[in-house]
């Protein structure tokens, strides 16, 4: 087959549908990535307009530009949009678009999940935009502290829009994190062992793990606060055994890692772009990987440094102050690795390099002020002042926006296949750089003079007028710079001429393909033996196009790629991806309907929507594409591999495992909340404990054991090639016992609105019930497939996946029952 014929055949197989239908049915990572990037950029512009409104208000004292009530909505939405609708989705978009190209594969692990995540993000974002336009936007600040955000002080739906809209968007982030983790570990070019991975993939992997561990505490906190607002469950009400500090813990357990979730991908961009601009390789690759991992995990040990002013004992303050200063070490290692890379290379002052220099300048200042606020006495002085706002902008704008703009201009020729020829980008850089530093250096200054953050006006005699005016003028200069970037990109898209394939002379695989990239990425999946395969073999792109590597011969209309061993990169299995589908958008709409039902408090909508979710999920699971025959498959280069679906550890199993990591963190956060109220919460113990029921405990624990055994028996049966029906029915009996025990405990949970104890028990048992129901439904589906037989019969991977969920459900049910039933005996 000629290269052209191969290109035509693969394009037919992998392309999206034409027109608007292609937008809603595409599952291709390049399309989804571009859509993510576009929508995230639009939200950046919305957030930017809100920022300009803030600066207009603060430009003069006693400003009457907007009322304080509207101003509250503006600054809350500015933070919310920038954090949840711009920064994280922009990383997701960049990762979704770039990773398969960097890793040498044809798509991400779960193409439909990418699309589902994207549509959840869009629908959740639209909820918040609607709230903004309708004057119903959240107004309690982007971290929504109760009691300010509780129904007593924030009546109306403003806070509900935040809690429900943001949680919906977080579904998208969790989906992307699972997708990215599995893709990086299992979907790489053969031969690409962990030590040969592009550095951006390491950063994306670390970030994805951080999302899996960082987002669940906020999801839990949002659920608890919404339950309090909607039904009066008093989790955060001190008088009834709750504590507003519990929200702060849950929020910052997410909120501090969030800073690194935003910074690390940007650091990945720097580590990728800077060596190319310096015409060398990254200095200290291992140390940079180690520093990224250390920074990520240290980032989870800092959350209390946002709570230094809450009256925590000195020893606790010292723990977190010490941890906060420590993060400067891995950050410093990365900075010095980048400086060393510049030192050993031959840097050229291109536009991406300008933005990298801007990053160095601003981020180092942000890091140093970070060390200042890590010191408790200084933090007490600066807490809640404009100094903190300035610090976080230096870290986030300097540490994220500058690197991302460097990345935008670096990968623009890859994205468009065109050559940039206007010099608007350079002018835009200087406006952004000077405007940013003018705006936020001034903000440090006015903060040190005592200006609080989030104030709608200030008196004339405070001595802040000129500084605020300087800050506002500078902010508008920066906004003009951003507008020029948009203009530059629009001109590039409309007018620029075709460019060469690898204009920077980079060595990574995303440049070893035609630009703009074809839907299938690689005509054959290359074998990799170097961190910069294209630099090692400049003819690689042609060899890939000629089909000299794996899967060079398209088969029918199958979208095929390979999975590899996570550590060594040895080829393991053949994966057949699903084709274009409107299932993801339909499932996202059904999920959104459930969230909308909660928002408008029309609660009958929720079970109805969840029924659709379950139905569509089952259809999703059943509509996998199959090979024409089972057994070993020829993947080219005289290599036979099994189908991934016929292996013990299919991609679906790994995805479930990573999703359950996030789920376990959520469950752990719930336990943390229970323990926190117990030990630190005011007005504890409750007036009455839940009495222990031996029947409920015994039934629940026995049920948990039976369901695990049942699925184990089913797994063994499938492995032997016999019917798993007996094991599945045993498992279903176990689920029945567990669900009955949990339901009985739930009914006895007591007066849910009278005391936080009863409400906490209710949530814990309800969580266990939901997690018993999920594998029970999955088991029913497997049993139905086993009854139908033939090609519908469950495969090993199907039973293993349900087995994994069952084990987790059993663990949750047993732990929840024990923790709640014996609580009265632990005092």
């Amino acid at each position: 087959m000629s290269a052209l014929a191969r290109h035509r055949a693969l394009s037919r197989i992998w392309s999206s549908e034409p027109g608007w239908r292609g937008v809603i049915s595409t599952v291709n990572h390049s399309d989804i990535g571009r859509m993510f990037l576009l929508v995230a950029s639009l939200f950046f512009l919305i957030g930017g307009v809100l920022a300009m409104l803030i600066r207009t208000q603060l430009a003069t004292p006693r400003s009457a530009f907007v009322t304080p009530a509207i101003y509250d909505q503006i600054f809350t939405m500015h933070g919310t949009v920038m954090m949840f609708l711009f920064a994280i989705p922009l990383f997701e978009g960049a990762a979704v678009y770039l990773l398969p190209k960097l890793l040498g594969t044809r798509d991400l692990a779960y193409p439909r999940l990418s699309a589902y995540g994207f549509w959840c993000y869009v629908f959740g974002g639209l909820m918040l935009v609607f709230a903004l336009l309708a004057g119903l936007a959240p107004n309690s600040g982007w971290f929504m502290y109760p009691p300010l955000s509780s129904s007593a002080h924030s009546p109306g739906v403003n806070a509900d829009f935040w809690l429900i809209g943001v949680t919906f968007v977080e579904v998208s982030a969790i989906a992307a994190a699972v997708e990215i983790s599995v893709s990086i570990l299992k979907f790489r070019a053969p031969g690409m062992s962990l030590d040969l991975m592009p550095i951006f993939a390491w950063y994306a992997l670390v970030t994805a793990f951080m999302i899996l561990m960082g987002f669940p505490p906020l999801i839990l906190g949002s659920i608890l606060l919404e339950l309090e607002r909607a039904f009066g469950f008093p989790f955060f009400e001190s008088a009834l055994g709750g504590s507003p500090l519990l929200w702060q813990h849950l929020f910052w357990l997410f909120g501090h890692p969030e800073v690194y979730i935003i910074f690390l991908p940007a650091a990945g961009v720097i580590s990728t772009v800077l060596p190319v601009m310096a015409r060398t390789t990254l200095l200290g690759y291992r140390w940079v990987v180690a520093a990224a991992v250390a920074l990520a995990i240290l980032g989870f040990g800092l959350w209390v440094h946002h709570m230094f002013a809450t009256g925590i004992p000195h020893m606790g303050l010292a723990f977190f102050s010490a941890a906060s200063t420590l993060v400067a070490v891995p950050t410093g290692i990365q900075i010095f690795a980048w400086l060393g890379t510049l030192w050993k290379g031959q840097p050229r002052l291109t536009l991406p390099m300008l933005y990298i220099i801007g990053f160095f300048f601003t981020f180092v200042i942000g890091g140093l002020t970070g060390v200042m606020v890590a010191i408790v006495p200084f933090d007490w002085q600066a807490h809640d002042t404009a100094f903190i706002t300035a610090h976080l902008h230096y870290v986030l704008f300097g540490g994220f926006v500058f690197p991302m703009l460097a990345g935008l201009y670096y990968w623009l020729p890859q994205l468009s296949g065109r050559k940039r020829f206007f010099r608007i980008g350079e002018m835009a850089f200087w406006l952004i750089f000077l405007g940013f530093n003018g705006a936020f250096l001034a903000m440090h200054w006015v903060g040190l003079l005592g200006q609080r953050r989030r104030i709608a006006w200030y008196p004339e005699d405070a001595g802040w007028t000129e500084i605020n005016l300087l800050s506002s003028i500078s902010a508008f200069v920066m906004a003009i710079g951003v507008a020029m970037v948009v203009f530059d990109i629009a001109l590039h898209a409309l007018l620029a001429i075709r460019g060469s394939r690898n204009p920077w002379g980079a060595g990574t695989l995303e440049w070893a393909m035609p630009t703009p990239p074809a839907a299938y990425n690689f005509a054959s999946i290359p074998i990799v033996g170097d961190r910069e395969p294209l630099a090692r073999d400049p003819a690689l792109a042609n060899k890939i196009a000629r089909g000299e590597y794996f899967l060079g011969e398209p088969r029918g209309d199958l979208r095929e790629t390979l999975t590899v061993d996570a550590a060594s990169g040895r080829p393991e299995a053949l994966v057949i991806f699903p084709g274009n589908s409107t299932l993801p958008i339909a499932l996202a709409a059904a999920t959104g309907a459930a969230f909308l039902g909660a928002l408008i408090r029309v609660y009958w909508v929720i079970p109805l929507a969840l029924l659709f979710v379950v139905g569509l999920s089952l259809r999703w699971g059943w509509s996998q594409r199959q090979a024409t025959h089972s057994g070993l498959q020829n993947v080219g280069r005289a290599t036979l591999l099994p189908l991934a679906i016929e292996t013990d550890r299919s991609p679906g199993w790994w995805g479930s495992a990573f999703l359950l990591v996030a789920d376990t963190v959520l469950f752990g956060s719930l336990f943390f909340g229970y323990a926190f109220l117990w030990t630190v919460g005011p007005n504890w113990p409750p007036p009455q404990w839940l009495s222990m029921s031996v029947l409920e405990l015994a039934l629940g624990l026995a049920g948990a054991a039976v369901e695990v055994v049942g699925l184990h028996v089913a797994r063994r049966a499938v492995t032997r090639g016999s019917s798993p029906l007996r094991g599945l029915i045993t498992g279903l009996a176990g689920f029945g016992m567990t669900i009955a025990a949990l339901a009985m405990t739930l009914i006895r949970a007591g007066q849910l609105t009278d005391y936080a104890y009863g409400a906490t028990i209710f949530v814990m048992i309800a969580y266990a019930l939901v997690h018993a129901a999920i594998p029970a439904i999955m088991t029913c589906s497997l049993a139905y497939r086993a009854l139908r037989g033939g090609s519908s019969s469950p495969r090993t991977s199907n039973v293993n996946i349900v087995g994994l969920w069952t084990s987790y459900a059993a663990f949750v049910a047993a732990t929840s029952l024990v923790a709640t039933q014996v609580s009265g005996y632990l005092t």
Partner: protein, 107 residues
């Protein structure tokens, strides 16, 4: 996937120990351990001091384990990174947990 665990394990153990000592401080203060006198110290001080040394011992054990042939990765790259991070975790333990020895109780 074992190599991924090898890379992350030492810092995760640090995180668990760090959280555990912070939790122990909360439990101790809530239970009034700082008011219970033992020989020359309060129960709170004794518990925190013991926890500090146990935490360091665990971090040393992780470092030794990752260097031992039993748990060491066959990949020199992974082995090197996991040992860097185990040393980092040990230093992180020393630096972030020393307040358990040095600071006053429950004020």
């Amino acid at each position: 996937m074992k190599d991924v665990v090898r890379i992350a394990i030492a810092m995760l153990v640090w995180l668990a120990l760090f959280s555990a000592l912070y939790g122990l401080e909360g439990v101790g203060c809530a239970a009034g351990w700082h008011r219970i006198q033992l020989t020359g110290a309060t129960l709170f001080q004794a518990a925190m001091t013991l926890a500090f040394f146990v935490a360091l011992l665990i971090l040393v054990a992780v470092l030794v384990g990752l260097r031992s042939p039993l748990f060491r990765s066959a990949s020199p790259f992974i082995a090197h990174i996991s040992i860097i991070l185990a040393v980092a975790a040990l230093f992180a333990g020393l630096w972030t947990l020393f307040p358990a020895l040095a600071f006053s109780s429950c004020v």
